[in-house]
Symmetry: C2
């Protein structure tokens, strides 16, 4: 099915949306497709909260550090790790939930969240919608928990804007695929030259799309990954019941 | 594009494969599509290791706790969190990588891994292949690290079998979509009755497909989530350089 691969290959994130709303049946179809995505142990430990209310989307735009496209796009979906749901099952069977107190439980749930997020993105593209995934809600997860009334043992891990693109951006180049795909064993020997070439390619891309101050990839990585983390994940996870130190 | 949504809605995991190999150009197309998936901060912090060697696949089948379909399906792809790659960028810009020492860094990377994993699964379905995602490699991540020669600051987070189905299983029912989708705010009031109904539905499904000892969902959850975690994630993550206690 080459059209489907074209959809996947055509991915780009859009940060400018029309006011045009997303019809209910389109949103239903997208969410239905994500509902069918696989999950670890068939636990179905992911839940979604759909926000369409404009004032609430403006609030999320602030929480995410000032991302105006969240207020602009008509639909925002929060992807929630939901050990409240699986915990109800465990308790129904007469046991107490434990796995959520371990790194294994957190990693498993975060991977499942990514699976659902990508299913939503692919389905949205298939329906002609534009999207941009949002990790910025983790700047203040407690504010998201309060806004969405999330219960104990849940955590808002990522979000997604959906709507109709006001402007289709040029697709960003990727690092050479040899930095992504290894055969039989990891071989990082080409990485330094691939990264050097990519630093040049991404700056050319930024120049072409009019972002004269766009950084080389390495400098962008230094900004994001080269400083101690300031997001309050550990604290908010603990408050929600994911006390990872109690897991063993 | 209704066909694409059909592909997403038709997802099932397959645990019986033909010997028929996956043509190189089909595998190339699948991996290319996943390479195009979005990543946090355009970090591209995920890498793949493709294993086709039969002896190595048998080894992975053992590592994953005895999953014969890993030895049977002609291709196994390991999805790797790769802070080695992003770390090279950070160092190239004259800084030291830090984010990988935080829960934020780990959660971000695990979500990105899930995104790539789902892109692989959707692309594989589009190419007429069957798949089953494998979390079981996390039973012994050190053995995967050794087998794949993974460097410091990388972690094998999940895997995927690809091949041609020997037998297409019946699709498993999902919990009512009202347990997955919430509007504006989380509302868990219907969860107890949804879970009770699902326990019945999944047992009927197991009976229909000839698995007389198939558990109700709640009992399966008690088995997986109701016992302390025994997987050595924290220890192996630390050994790989993801020392989460050093992150602040």
């Amino acid at each position: 099915m080459p059209e489907l691969l074209e959809v996947l290959n055509g991915h780009r994130s859009v940060r400018a949306y029309q006011e045009r709303p997303v019809p209910d049946e389109v949103l239903d179809a997208i969410i239905h497709a994500a509902w069918r995505a696989p999950s670890s142990f068939n636990a179905q430990e992911i839940s979604l909260v759909v926000v369409r209310d404009a004032a609430r989307r403006r609030r999320i735009a602030d929480i995410a550090g000032g991302q105006p496209w969240i207020a602009q796009a008509p639909v925002f979906i929060t992807v929630v790790i939901d050990a409240h749901k699986t915990g109800l099952g465990v308790k129904r069977a007469g046991r107490e939930p434990h796995l959520h107190r371990s790194l294994e439980g957190l990693v498993m749930a975060a991977v499942d969240a990514g699976i659902v997020l990508e299913a939503l993105m692919v389905a949205a593209h298939a329906e002609g919608l534009a999207i941009v995934p949002i990790g910025g809600i983790r700047r203040d997860p407690q504010a998201m928990i309060d806004l969405l009334a999330l219960p104990e043992l849940t955590f808002p891990v990522a979000g997604l804007c959906l709507g109709y693109a006001a402007k289709e951006p040029e697709q960003k180049p990727r690092m050479d695929i040899a930095a992504f795909r290894h055969e039989e064993r990891y071989d990082g020997s080409a990485l330094p030259s691939i990264i050097a070439a990519y630093d040049t390619a991404i700056v050319e891309h930024w120049r072409r799309v009019g972002r004269a101050n766009g950084l080389p990839w390495s400098e962008a990585m230094a900004t994001y990954f080269g400083a101690p983390d300031r997001r309050p994940l550990a604290e908010v996870l603990r408050r929600q019941g994911f006390d990872l130190t109690a897991g063993e």
